[in-house]
């Protein structure tokens, strides 16, 4: 198993009573709730946490992109990667999970930024590409009905910019460049590894598993049952396309809290994981699923499944049952991750060891116990190799 530490960088000082007057911590929550002095402290604290994880031997750290909300304060993940690039332990990788291609106006500048980071880190950049969640389309006023098409074209343009000798012309539907000619070129050959974080749409799994890409598929924000299904879909898709995928093509992004004992872990995590689920993630359906963001058929399915999730207060216990949170003593966490790996067949764990209002001291303790007691026990753990064959029968 391979371990990365992922941070969302929420505005942890958010007044928790905001929801008495506002629908969501996204899009329309007035930014008068943001105090820059507190925000500055949070940024430094969060960057310290990322650097600490790299120091303790995580393979890498992850940052991501969200816009105009209290849930995650990284509208520009490449800026964060840049801040980390020369401060982190020299062997640690930086995963940008990812840039939200359709909501950005110029994919060529994404290709440039990634290439710069790839050079400065001498090839320790993992390039994530996402569509951005639905709320991003409200916040940046990009038409959600063009989301898929823009994602694919922006992706193709970036890969071409990294791999085709320049200058060349790009005549796309959405993007038009007479001269694509990247300076600098990417450091890694042919280009930085590409990871695709997703909530599990069929279209995305097929895209990532395609034999011309073999991108790492990273399952985010999903119950364990969904995880097992999407991991299997990826293996099935690879098989259908004539190759066998490896566990290193599959990852799981999951919130984890580990402490001295199960009791301590649960008591310490509960208020903070519940603030994450109920305060920071709070979003009505109209924010999360703007029209056209997915196909009509997928949208119907999502609307039905989200009814239960947006339905009411979610407790830590529900999240533990669903498998959207892992919490306990080192042994409990080891056992659960091992069991999930056996069923899911993934090798990569993107551990969200900070969530919601979890304070600095507990975050550092979580990172430390995870790195020192959980990771060593699972380093050699591998997914069953016969999985793909069994599934295909």
């Amino acid at each position: 198993m391979r371990f990365f530490f992922f941070h969302l960088m929420p505005y942890a000082d958010l007044d928790p009573d905001y929801d008495q007057t506002h629908k969501s911590s996204w899009v329309t929550l007035p930014n008068s709730y943001y105090d820059a002095a507190k925000g500055a402290d949070l940024y430094h604290r969060y960057l310290d946490e990322l650097e600490y994880a790299a120091e303790l031997g995580f393979e890498g750290v992850g940052v991501n992109e969200h816009h105009q909300n209290a849930y995650g304060l990284m509208p520009c993940p490449n800026v964060f990667a840049g801040m980390l690039a020369r401060r982190m332990a020299p062997e640690a990788k930086i995963c940008i999970l990812g840039r939200a291609l359709p909501v950005l106006s110029n994919p060529l500048s994404v290709a440039e930024e990634y290439a710069v980071l790839d050079n400065v880190t001498r090839g320790r950049i993992i390039a994530g590409f996402v569509r951005g969640i639905g709320a991003e389309y409200h916040s940046l006023a990009v038409n959600p009905t063009e989301s898929h098409a823009r994602f694919h074209e922006a992706h193709d343009l970036i890969i071409a910019a990294w791999t085709r000798p320049g200058p060349f012309a790009w005549d796309g539907k959405y993007y038009h460049f007479p001269h694509v000619n990247l300076w600098p070129r990417a450091y890694q050959n042919p280009h930085p590894p590409v990871w695709i974080p997703s909530q599990g749409s069929k279209e995305t799994i097929e895209f990532a598993a395609d034999p011309s890409r073999k991108y790492v598929y990273l399952q985010t924000a999903a119950p364990a049952a969904t995880l097992f299904k999407t991991m299997q879909s990826y293996r099935d898709e690879a098989e259908r396309q004539g190759y066998q995928s490896t566990p290193d093509q599959l990852g799981w992004s999951i919130k984890i809290y580990v402490a001295e004992t199960d009791e301590i872990a649960r008591a310490e995590a509960k208020p903070h994981i519940e603030s994450f689920a109920n305060k920071f993630l709070r979003m009505p359906q109209e924010y999360l699923l703007p029209p056209g963001y997915t196909s009509l058929a997928s949208m119907k399915g999502l609307i039905n499944s989200r009814k239960t999730i947006t339905g009411g207060y979610r407790t830590m216990e529900q999240m533990l049952d669903q498998g959207t949170f892992i919490c306990g003593s080192p042994q409990t966490v080891i056992d659960q991750l091992a069991a999930y790996q056996q069923k899911g067949g993934f090798n990569i764990v993107m551990a969200g060891l900070h969530f919601g209002t979890l304070p600095h001291a507990l975050t550092m303790k979580n990172i430390e116990i995870f790195a020192k007691q959980v990771m060593p026990a699972l380093r050699g753990a591998t997914a069953p190799t016969e999985m793909a064959r069994v599934a295909a029968e």
Partner: protein, 268 residues
């Protein structure tokens, strides 16, 4: 008044225009009246149509992307739909047409008329989108829940409650979802307007009628009706009181009388 008029049973047909199979209701006899529905969708024979159908053939298509009509590959922006409307009028060889557009349909009608009014005798816009008046706050309709959306359509909340209380079939839910997609396609950004439209509205040389609900919660009547009137060379404005975003439903009789009088004036 409308109770004394016998309901007209429209006939359903599918027209193929620009490769788009288009669900259309047609009823009544006389010079053509083409109705272009709003973002909520069409393909519904509304009660006001019975009265107008006494003197007109009413043609009521569901626009491309909406309801039972196809979503063709070319369906990408408001200009595509404007050309579709012109092609539909040519296909049916409509002449001297009264074009009536509601909300988004008003915007489509105006975009079509900017391009070609040869087949049009009059243009009636009901609380149309399509223009933007700087500094006038507008709600974000795409953040509304379906209930908030329904309530915002009406000044008289009893009408909203009647809509909310009516049974909704799965087929209607599917159609509503499809309509939302189509509306987003056309309206998302810039939000419900084309910044270039106002430069060319002076080309519409035919008489135009602007009807607005005084209590419209989607687009405020005052500044918007005034802007349209200032840009259309031959515009008449009627603001209807006790009326929200859909005057043809909420103030049916006043709307019909206003429209009939306007149509009479275009024939004079």
């Amino acid at each position: 008044m409308s109770a004394t008029i016998a309901p007209v049973t429209p006939r359903e047909e599918y027209l193929t225009v620009d490769g788009c199979r288009t669900y259309t209701l047609r009823g009544g006899e006389g010079p053509p009246l083409l109705y272009i529905h709003g973002a909520g969708g069409g393909g519904v024979w509304q009660p006001w149509m019975n009265r107008l159908a006494q003197r007109h053939e009413i043609i009521c298509p569901e626009m491309p992307g909406f309801g039972r009509s196809d979503t063709p590959d070319w369906f990408e922006n408001i200009h595509d739909v404007a050309y579709f409307v012109l092609d539909l009028m040519a296909k049916l060889d409509l002449r001297g047409t009264q074009v009536v557009g509601s909300s988004l349909g008003g915007w489509i009608a105006a975009e079509a008329a900017v391009r070609d009014t040869a087949r049009m005798a009059g243009l009636t816009l009901l609380g149309p989108s399509g223009l933007h008046v700087r500094g006038v706050p507008k709600p974000d309709i795409f953040l509304w829940t379906p209930e908030e959306m329904t309530r915002a359509m009406f000044h008289d909340q009893r009408l909203a409650e009647a809509v909310l209380g009516a049974p909704v079939s799965d087929e209607m839910l599917d159609r509503q979802l499809k309509n939302r997609f189509a509306a987003a396609r056309l309206m998302w950004a810039p939000r419900g307007y084309d910044p270039h439209l106002e430069k060319w509205l002076h080309r519409i040389a035919i008489p135009a009628l602007i009807v607005w609900g005084a209590q419209d919660q989607v687009l405020p009547a005052g500044p918007y009706a005034e802007r349209w009137a200032s840009l259309l060379p031959r515009a008449t404005v009627r603001i209807l009181d006790n009326c929200g975003h859909i005057p043809q439903v909420e103030q049916q009789d006043a709307f019909c009388a206003t429209l009939e009088s306007f149509i009479g004036s275009t024939q004079a």
